[in-house]
């Protein structure tokens, strides 16, 4: 081996080692949190266990552009997508609650714990603030024979398990809410999973399924273009931007359920820091610039804070646990 060759091999091995070492460094670095009087002194990281450009990610990126004014620092979004959010939260377990690390905390963060054994549990994170509740709506192709939600339910009653109800992913929010809905309505649909809301919408526009359960903004453009129709939205009241879409409750089916998205802190984060972050997000939600951005992005903000949010999360955790256990979903129960 020539000297030149050795040098090159050394370079490459060195580079590879550096990569591995830096990979290890992400898990390390422990220290006792102390209350800093001038918190925050640097950027605050928010781990989003879903991909960049996804529904949850867009919520945080929209906040990121306005929040520095209220937070006193910027937020960094750290996407850790894949594996039904398990890898992301597993990594978060190794991070300390020093006030500079928070996680996105949403409906799927709870459901996944019922679907499979996870290294983390609901007690490892303290809910801080809820930012958004995204409703789910039931859409059908424009020339579908079903005019109301009741029509669709009656069809499923007459022909159990034969009416296709597409969703945005097996075991995901749109699927679980569809399951909760059929429990409530006492019928059985044929659930068809897709790789995301977009493909589900495509299947509905192409009339390859009878109906789909997705959430706004999924389907908005197609309704405007008379490709799809909404039979109902699973919310307590009609959505401001879509006053023509009736709720399920109005049609005599007492069902409201949505997917919420908020923030949680690693257990052990000092309450002072949690309060500071909570207040900054709350102030941003009331900010006019932010509201314009949120409207454009179709984000329906929904503030739930403090103890109330903690209780909300606990109740939701129970609810999904029961549903998933009853339906024999996933591999945990």
């Amino acid at each position: 081996m020539s000297r030149f060759q050795k040098g090159l091999t050394g370079c490459l091995i060195g580079a590879a080692l550096a990569v591995l070492l830096s990979a290890g460094a992400f898990a390390g670095g422990e220290a006792e949190p102390e209350i800093e009087p001038d918190y925050p002194t640097r950027s605050i990281e928010i781990m989003v266990p879903w991909g960049a450009g996804g529904a949850t990610d867009i919520v945080f990126r929209t906040f990121a552009s306005v929040i520095p004014e209220y937070l006193g620092t910027s937020i960094l979004i750290d996407n850790q997508p894949g594996g039904a959010a398990v890898p992301g939260y597993t990594e978060a377990l190794g991070r300390e609650g020093d006030g500079y690390y928070f996680v996105a905390w949403a409906t799927p963060s709870l459901t996944v714990q019922h679907m499979r054994e996870t290294p983390f549990s609901v007690d490892d994170f303290v809910p801080v603030i809820n930012l958004q509740t995204a409703p789910i709506w039931i859409l059908v192709p424009a020339d579908s024979p079903y005019e109301t939600l009741v029509d669709l339910v009656e069809a499923a009653e007459a022909d159990p398990g034969r009416i296709d109800l597409g969703n945005a992913g097996a075991g995901g929010g749109t699927h679980l809410i569809a399951l909760a809905f059929e429990e409530e309505a006492g019928v059985e649909f044929n659930h068809v999973p897709h790789d995301g809301g977009g493909p589900a919408v495509i299947a509905a526009v192409g009339e390859h399924v009878d109906a789909i359960s997705v959430g706004p903004p999924e389907g908005v453009a197609q309704m405007e273009g008379d490709e799809l129709r909404a039979l109902a939205v699973f919310a307590e009241e009609r959505i401001d931007d879509f006053p023509d879409i009736p709720t399920a409750v109005e049609q005599g089916i007492d069902f409201t359920l949505g997917q919420w998205r908020g923030i949680a802190a690693p257990a052990g984060t000092p309450q002072e820091y949690i309060d500071h972050v909570h207040d900054a997000f709350k102030a941003t939600m009331e900010d006019e610039t932010f509201q314009t951005l949120a409207d454009n992005a179709g984000i329906i903000t929904d503030y739930i804070g403090g103890e109330e949010f903690i209780e909300h999360v606990e109740a939701d955790y129970e609810f999904w646990g029961n549903l998933i256990r009853e339906r024999g979903l996933g591999e945990r129960y």
Binding site: M1, S22, A84, V192, G198
Partner: protein, 502 residues
């Protein structure tokens, strides 16, 4: 027409043209870095989009979109590191040609093919978008499954030396694609209780490992023994008149093919470029030269993958449906600035649509300009001594793998698949076959599942005419052709053996 001219004037104002240029140049840069694709580029643009007008945002994003697809070819040709999955097929002939000292020519051909592909597909977008979108909607789960079955037969085309080894690599790719959460019920498969494996093996880090890192390891063996790259010819980098003639015969049909595949939601550049490569090889008079630096093998995938750009915008603009990850991110970005792509955009904001069309066309010419300027400059990169160039490429590979998800796990995947790719290379297994398996396996599985769910287990629907019939016939022809090819290779090998023996 007046509206069109108005849009023309709007786009060529210095400020807007600068934004378009930033979009295209940024896209080329992002695309040429391994692991960074157009979707990452658009996400990086997002903070700026908040501060410009709607129409400006649209111009930047469309420039980024087109530039990124082309950019992938640059690193594929120069350093065997496809920047995006859709450039993987470009590497098959681009890199060997660069190794012969004609990197400039390879880049020139790629640029011309990309521009032609882009222009043809944008024309299709402008002229026949609504009709095409209607047709694409007829693709239900059985049609998609048939398309994927046919696409899997392309594995044979990229298995030049040995069909058996190609199939083995392809099956290994399919196996790799099954790791993670199953798409039907969300059960974990082959995860061995390791949380990270629930993610499966994301395609981009696998791609970076199998092509780029493995290539570095192979080159490492030769370091010190001889000059790795022969001196680069920097004159005559543009194809000659006779070459242009044969190029055009490949570029036009593959551009149309790319456009058609782009329109079908969920198909995308990788499938289009491999399919185009396979067809170019099939119709060539000298298929054995593919894989050794045939310019047609560069032109076909580049024309096709740039062809998908206009195609992918068809369902987005006419129906508001994103066809792939990049268009989904574009949809998200545009919605944040208040543009709702969809049928209403044509009615409510026609000036926006016209501005988009004009900037897409200009984007193609900017790609041509940037590409032809770089033809004489970029090959000089290869004059960099390997002890400087290799570590830089390796670092870029890891940065690319990391930046996709900010995930150290993805760097590890790239490294592991780099070693796997090294052994594949050493023993004559085509890495492209593995990648095809990884890309197509999960797609085929999902569509098969959906077919059987929606038909309650009636598999005869898988063969419902007419679209599936076409794909199954194509698949059968592709297999017959591959078997004939394999027989020919065997015969030739036999002759060589006899000669040497006798």
């Amino acid at each position: 027409m007046a509206a069109f001219l108005q849009a023309l004037v709007f786009v060529v104002t210095p400020y807007n043209f600068l934004l378009l240029f930033i979009g295209v140049a940024g896209g080329v840069l992002v695309g040429s870095l391994p692991g960074l694709t157009g979707s990452v580029g658009v996400i990086l643009l997002l903070p700026f989009l908040f501060y410009v007008e709607q129409a400006n945002a649209l111009i930047m994003v469309s420039g980024m979109f087109c530039g990124a697809i082309y950019g992938g070819a640059i690193s594929a040709i120069l350093v065997a590191t496809p920047g995006t999955p859709s450039a993987a097929a470009t590497m098959l002939d681009g890199y060997p040609l660069a190794q012969k000292g004609e990197a400039g020519k390879a880049l020139g051909v790629a640029t011309i093919a990309s521009t032609c592909g882009g222009i043809i597909s944008v024309s299709a977008l402008i002229l026949v978008a609504p009709q095409l979108a209607r047709f694409a909607l007829r693709f239900g789960p059985p049609e998609y499954f048939a398309l994927m079955v046919f696409a899997l037969t392309i594995i044979a085309s990229v298995s030049a030396a040995s069909l058996v080894k190609g199939l083995l690599a392809g099956f290994f790719g399919l196996l790799v694609g099954t790791v993670g959460l199953d798409p039907l019920m969300g059960y974990s498969r082959f995860t061995f209780g390791i949380p990270r494996l629930l993610t499966g093996f994301p395609m981009l880090p696998v791609l970076i490992g199998v092509f780029a890192i493995s290539q570095l390891l192979v080159q490492l063996e030769k370091v010190g023994s001889k000059a790795i790259v022969p001196p680069q010819k920097l004159t005559n980098v543009l194809p000659s008149r006779s070459e242009l003639k044969s190029l055009i015969r490949v570029i036009v049909p593959t551009s149309v093919l790319g456009t058609m595949l782009g329109i079908i939601p969920g198909t995308g550049g990788a499938i289009a470029s491999f399919w185009a490569y396979s067809e170019a090889k099939r119709f060539s008079k000298e298929p054995e030269t593919f894989g050794t630096g045939n310019i047609l093998g560069i032109a076909a995938p580049e024309a096709a993958n740039n062809g998908t750009t206009g195609g992918a915008l068809v369902p987005l603009l006419t129906l508001g449906i994103p066809g792939d990850v990049v268009t989904a991110v574009i949809l998200g970005a545009l919605m944040v600035v208040g543009i709702r792509p969809g049928p209403m955009l044509f009615r409510d904001q026609p000036e926006m649509i016209n501005a988009l069309f004009v900037s897409l066309i200009f984007a193609q010419f900017l790609i041509l300009a940037i590409g032809l300027l770089s033809v004489r400059v970029l090959p000089k990169v290869l004059k960099t001594p390997p002890y400087i160039l290799f570590p830089i490429i390796l670092a870029l590979c890891f940065i690319g793998a990391f930046s996709l998800n900010n995930s150290p796990y993805d760097m590890l995947i790239a490294l592991v698949f780099g070693v796997i790719g090294y052994f594949l290379n050493k023993h004559g297994f085509p890495p492209a076959a593995l990648i095809l398996g990884v890309i197509l396996g999960p797609l085929a599985e999902g569509h098969l599942n959906r077919t059987l769910i929606t038909t309650h287990g009636d598999w005869t629907v898988l063969f419902r005419p007419p679209i599936t019939t076409v794909f199954y016939i194509l698949a059968a022809l592709s297999i017959i052709y591959a078997l004939k090819g394999a027989a020919a290779v065997k015969k030739r090998a036999g002759l060589v053996n006899n000669n040497s023996g006798g």
